[in-house]
């Protein structure tokens, strides 16, 4: 088959399924088809990764370079994202069976899926903005799906921040376009001219804020711990696994890697590291395992941002590959863990071990436990982070991750089903196993891309030790947490959001004031006077013309 045709199918398939949803019988059966929707995208990614010369591209408007294309980071993320979407789709078919509003869930799922795959392949500003907006806004339907008061609140917060992110990015994109001569809107072209842009600082700040918000960088991470627990389990998996990666791919696509912007790189690294530690600190005082996972996501994305920041500072494209591999591993592992939480909740306590052990392996993988995929991901990042302060801080962050993940395992085990005969349905278990294996093994196949030879690293003792000591340190901390954790203060989900509890009242007061103004303005004499004033205001400046 023509590769470009397959490429087109990657996005056309979910759209076609979406159109089929207009037909009621199709809509009602759509849940069981969700597993199929991402498969063409998976195929595209595989082909592209196997044959690096065959990167597909589809130009819709050659004049302005509007279209879709694929590159290596895009292909990696597209592939693993498609895998997670597919597994989570299968999981969702079982998870939501028999519950109401499956059709609506499927529609939002497919919309989000389309956007989510799209951001990895969009080649120009407009397509990227479109797909990014799609994935951001449609995910609201997943977050608020349960329609409980909690879910609705989560939905509002999620949507508000998502729209703020959209606005920041729109501004950034406008600045990018204006600064770039020529009609082309291709991301490559406009980013290439960014370093000479008169609005470089504003553009970078907007880009980092907009994509950082999506990726969960502090202090804009607050939507993660609110939205993830509220969503149904498969939706949380894709939210935390794939959707935050829209922010990462954004950073990868839009930051000028060759410019060597040391100050901006340092800032991004700083933000990333702060996030990495701050999210751990907030996560260990949470009790809902999904909330803990959400904070872990923020922490991990902080590390990715730190990796990218180091690369940005020195103008090193290696950082992109390292960040991509790290993000790809996190995508699969975090998705798997969210699915695992659902499996826990459906499994009796005494049958928990067969799930808990692999979950533990994955969880510690975030901290770089050899020989998991996480270890390889950390190794790939190591040269970028260096062995200085940043490298040390990254290792300490890994210790923090260990602590957070052990906390997660405790909380997850505690959430097991109280029913002694409970057993998770097969439809929940196999997607989880699939993802577990993928998270464990796929980084081994991706490692060569990052310049790592898997066998040699496994035999290098100092490397193994560098992976192990943070875990041991984390383990010690976990014991301490176990002992004294009860003394820590409780922090509400979404920590900083608590600062804004008064804002609705304030907004209401402004609204009431404007309403009174409106009543006044709509009085006849006032409107008449306004018209006269308007006439004079339009007239008088013209009189002063030379």
């Amino acid at each position: 088959m023509n590769f470009n045709l397959l490429f087109a199918l990657a996005l056309a398939t979910p759209v076609a399924l979406l159109l089929a949803c207009l037909w009621r019988p199709a809509r009602e059966r759509m849940l069981s088809l969700l597993v199929l929707a991402p498969l063409p995208a998976l195929a595209v990614a595989l082909v592209a990764l196997l044959d690096a010369d065959a990167m597909p591209a589809l130009m819709l408007d050659p004049g302005r370079q509007i279209g879709l294309s694929l590159d290596q980071p895009g292909a990696i993320l597209l592939g693993v994202a498609a895998l997670l979407w597919s597994a989570a789709g299968a999981y969702a078919a079982t998870y939501l069976r028999g519950k109401p509003h499956g059709g609506r869930f499927a529609i939002f799922w497919l919309l989000t899926l389309t956007g989510s795959l799209g951001v990895f392949v969009a080649a120009d500003l407009l397509s990227f903005y479109l797909t990014f907006a799609l994935v951001s806004l449609a995910a609201w339907g997943l977050v608020a799906h349960d329609d409980t008061p909690g879910a609705r609140r989560a939905g509002v917060i999620y949507l508000l921040l998502a729209v703020v992110g959209e606005v920041l990015l729109l501004l950034a994109f406008v600045l990018l376009d204006v600064a770039s001569p020529g009609a082309s809107l291709a991301i490559d072209t406009v980013v290439a001219t960014l370093p000479e842009s008169p609005w470089l600082a504003a553009t970078l700040a907007l880009l980092i804020a907009g994509f950082g918000l999506k990726a969960g960088l502090a202090p804009l991470h607050v939507w993660l711990p609110v939205a993830h627990p509220a969503a149904p389990m498969p939706a949380s998996a894709v939210l935390s696994g794939v959707i935050v990666k829209a922010g990462i791919i954004g950073l990868i696509r839009f930051l000028p890697w060759d410019a060597g912007l040391d100050w901006w790189g340092a800032a991004l690294t700083g933000i990333g590291l702060v996030t990495a530690f701050y999210a751990v600190a907030m996560g260990i005082v949470q009790s809902n395992p999904k909330t803990v996972l959400a904070y872990s996501t923020a922490s991990q994305m902080g590390l990715v941002a730190a990796i990218l920041g180091m690369g940005l500072a020195v103008g090193d494209r290696e950082a992109v590959t390292a960040g991509t591999v790290y993000a790809a591993h996190h995508l699969l592992a975090k998705g798997a863990l969210f699915l695992a939480v659902g499996v826990f909740a459906a499994t009796a306590r005494r049958r928990l071990w067969p799930v808990l052990v692999p979950a533990a392996i994955l969880a510690l993988g975030f901290a770089g436990l050899p020989p998991t995929g996480g270890f390889l991901a950390k190794l790939a990042a190591k040269p970028v982070l260096g062995s200085g302060l940043v490298g040390l801080l990254a290792s300490l962050a890994a210790a923090g991750s260990t602590l957070l993940m052990i906390h997660f395992l405790y909380r997850a085990a505690a959430s097991a089903s109280p029913d002694p005969g409970a057993r998770a349905a097969a439809g929940l278990v196999w997607p989880w196993w699939l993802l577990f294996l993928a998270a464990l093994l796929l980084p081994w196949t991706l490692a060569p891309l990052a310049g790592l030879s898997p066998w040699s690293v496994m035999t290098d003792r100092s490397l193994l030790w560098s992976g192990l000591w943070p875990i041991l340190a984390g383990g010690v901390l976990a014991l301490a947490l176990q002992r004294w954790g009860a003394r820590l203060p409780r922090v509400p989900e979404g920590d900083l959001l608590a600062l804004f509890t008064g804002s609705p009242r304030w907004a209401n007061a402004v609204g009431e004031m404007l309403e009174r103004t409106e009543t006044w303005l709509r009085q006849w004499p006032v409107a008449g006077l306004s018209l006269l004033i308007l006439t004079l205001v339009l007239w008088l400046p013209m009189l002063t013309r030379p």
């Binding site: 004499p525 006032v526 008449g528 006077l529 006269l532 004033i533 006439t535 004079l536 007239w539």
Partner: protein
């Protein structure tokens, strides 16, 4: 200062005085009466400005028919409606006064600064008037040079009729317009309504006919005819026709429809929409004017007669 200027000054002061009276009058009736008198004086100004066609229109439509319309509603305002309104605050009035004065001042300054010699189209009209066969340049502008305005304006009247009719109260549709409730027969009004219309109709037709060469035309003639019709309706000698009548509707659109038809025919006969073949210009224009006069008379009369109402609605009227 010449004598004419003194007269004009007196006229101006009188008009302004009446204008102020109209705005400041305590009673609604007083304001309306003031406005009617004002309109008549403004008609005199038009004569002074050498615009006799406008003077005729102003007297017939601007003052006469409008005054009748306003009187009709002023006398029906219930006392309660006059009392419940809070007067506008002093601050608002001062500000409004200041701003209105500023606009008026600006306009006055502009009037003084208008270019001299004034730009004009009068020579151009005079040069092209023979092609229409008309003697009255104003009619020439209305029917030939700017025919589209006149066409659209006669359509405006149809719009207004639809608008007024669409306000029919419940059960009113298809009935007769309900505003002009006849006075009891045998009053002095009846006598007037019997004596005046023959003269009025003659005058109306005369106005339309003379419009081709001298001041007058379809609007003025139509207005006089409408006034006669309204008089007959008020006096109870004629009842307003039911709005569902086909002949009535035909009469209302006859003018614009004929105008439009001739205009379309002009595309082929004279090379442009709304153009007249030179040989037939005058007869065509007269035919159009005649139809317009009829339609305008009908439209003006019906605008005064109001929306259709069920006969029983008369008692409910305030």
């Amino acid at each position: 200062m010449s004598a004419a200027l003194i007269v004009d000054l007196g006229l101006t002061l009188l008009i302004l005085g009446l204008g102020v009276w109209t705005v400041a009058a305590r009673s609604n009736n007083g304001a309306v009466v003031g406005y009617i008198a004002y309109g008549l004086l403004v008609a005199l100004v038009w004569v002074r400005l050498a615009a006799v066609d406008v003077a005729l229109t102003e007297a017939a439509i601007g003052s006469g028919l409008t005054g009748l319309l306003l009187l009709g509603v002023a006398t029906r305002l219930p006392r309660s409606a006059r009392l419940t309104r809070p007067p506008t605050g002093l601050g608002t009035r001062l500000l409004a006064g200041f701003l209105s004065a500023a606009v008026a001042g600006g306009l006055a300054a502009v009037v003084l600064l208008l270019p001299d010699p004034a730009p004009t189209l009068a020579p151009s009209v005079a040069a092209n008037l023979p092609a229409t066969g008309l003697g009255n340049p104003v009619t020439g502008v209305l029917i030939a040079f700017r025919a589209i305005d006149t066409l659209l304006e006669s359509v405006v009247l149809v719009f207004a009729i639809i608008g007024v009719w669409s306000l029919a109260p419940k059960d009113g549709w298809g009935e007769r317009p309900g505003w002009l409730r006849p006075a009891p027969l045998g009053s002095a009004l009846t006598l007037l309504a019997q004596l005046l219309p023959p003269i009025g109709i003659l005058v109306g037709i005369h106005l339309f006919w003379t419009g081709a060469t001298a001041p007058g035309g379809a609007f003025q003639g139509g207005a006089v005819l409408a006034a006669m019709w309204v008089l007959a309706m008020i006096a109870g000698l004629a009842r307003p026709p039911a709005v569902s009548r086909r002949w009535l509707r035909l009469m209302l659109v006859a003018g614009p429809a004929l105008f439009l038809t001739v205009g379309i025919a002009g595309i082929w006969l004279a090379g442009a929409f709304l153009a007249y073949p030179v040989a037939y210009a005058k007869p065509l224009i007269l035919v159009i004017e005649a139809a317009l006069t009829l339609s305008i008379a009908a439209a003006l009369g019906l605008l005064l007669a109001g929306p259709p109402e069920h006969p029983s609605a008369a008692e409910r009227q305030p």
